[in-house]
Symmetry: C2
Subunit: 218 residues, 2 copies
């Protein structure tokens, strides 16, 4: 299998901070993510800027769209994003609308469903059947702050989503030293955030993720 891709979520509150941060490790990673926080702060300009800075990387726009899929997709893909996110509670028609706009921009354009709360496998099957084949399995940042950790329920869900055929990306306070927990799964992507952005040496931290990915899945 292909190695899992390394994505870094730029959850900075200003574009200036995001640029200063990503310049340290952007050359090492596979996917530059305009995080929800950055997007809420700076709008679509953040997406345009990352597209300009990294013409050869995958740019992902984590807007977690819930509705008005066509208009949101025109904004995101129009600004150069390769992938945009939808929230799992969005109507299937919203996801389909995003996907349809994406396909007008190119075959690589894609939609990822962000899994929060009480989604069901029935819904997941509906996404898959409609060509929405990427999901992000998320340990909520706030759940994490409240002490919730990775556990058997997470691994069961991740395994089932992989078995269903989804490209599964994992995220939620991940450290390079956590990755071995997922070694039995054909993980599509790994999102690092604070553990890379806030490291003393962010480039070294990003490289540590890459090395660990290669060691486990290589």
């Amino acid at each position: 299998m292909a190695l899992p891709l390394l994505q870094v979520a730029l959850d900075n509150t200003t574009l200036e901070d995001a640029i200063n941060s990503v310049k340290l490790y952007g050359h090492i990673i596979d996917i530059v993510e305009v995080g929800t926080i950055l997007h809420v702060a700076e709008g679509i300009q953040a997406t345009k800027t990352m597209r300009e800075l990294y013409p050869d990387k995958i740019v992902l726009d984590d807007i977690k769209g819930a509705d008005a899929g066509k208009t949101l997709a025109e904004l995101c893909f129009g600004a150069g994003a390769d992938i945009m996110t939808a929230i799992c509670s969005a109507d299937i028609n919203t996801m389909i609308a995003m996907k349809n706009v994406g396909s007008q921009y190119g075959e690589y354009k894609d939609v990822q469903v962000e899994l929060y709360g009480d989604w069901t496998y029935q819904e997941a099957q509906q996404w898959y059947d409609n060509g929405i084949t990427q999901v992000v399995y998320h340990r909520s940042r706030d759940a994490e702050l409240a002490g919730k950790t990775w556990g058997p329920t997470d691994f069961e869900k991740i395994g089932k989503l992989c078995d269903m055929g989804f490209k599964v990306t994992i995220t939620g306070g991940l450290k390079a030293s956590d990755l071995h927990l997922f070694k039995e799964f054909p993980i599509h992507g790994v999102i690092g955030g604070r553990s890379i952005r806030n490291a003393d040496d962010p480039a070294q931290a990003a490289q540590a993720f890459k090395d660990e990915i290669k060691r486990i899945w290589g």
Copy 2:
């Protein structure tokens, strides 16, 4: 009971368009909403601008936050929003974090939960028990485009949410002529969007909503 508040969702794709639009009817409405589309396009500057333009109106920031509640709330309330939205699939800790930040900015600051997909009454009770007492009952724009209309299931859910004590705001392609459908419920707010923004005479359209609200609930 107090009359339902009239909110207009600014779902424009540029701030310039939003300003040109809201100036036509902002004096008539109760709540100026920075719609998700506008926020995705222009970022937090849109919120700051509406706060400056309408110092005496309620400004609502419809970001549909799913995670990182504290940081998102600091952005939204910090920019002058009175109300921000969370998506129903967010962890309860995300909503609580938003609410806590809001209370630091003033007693009127509030969090509204956007109801999409498969939320449960058990979750709703948990929101209410934690002081999250506003919800937006939403007919998805994309579901609407796919032909789904208001029906008995919607009315049953709206009634139950009102009975639980929630302040319920309704939205989703509403026209003034639809409002009578909800007359039996103590509706807290009514969101008009395209039917006001895109009217030949937006001020007249906003006034028609106000008049119909008064006629039904006055």
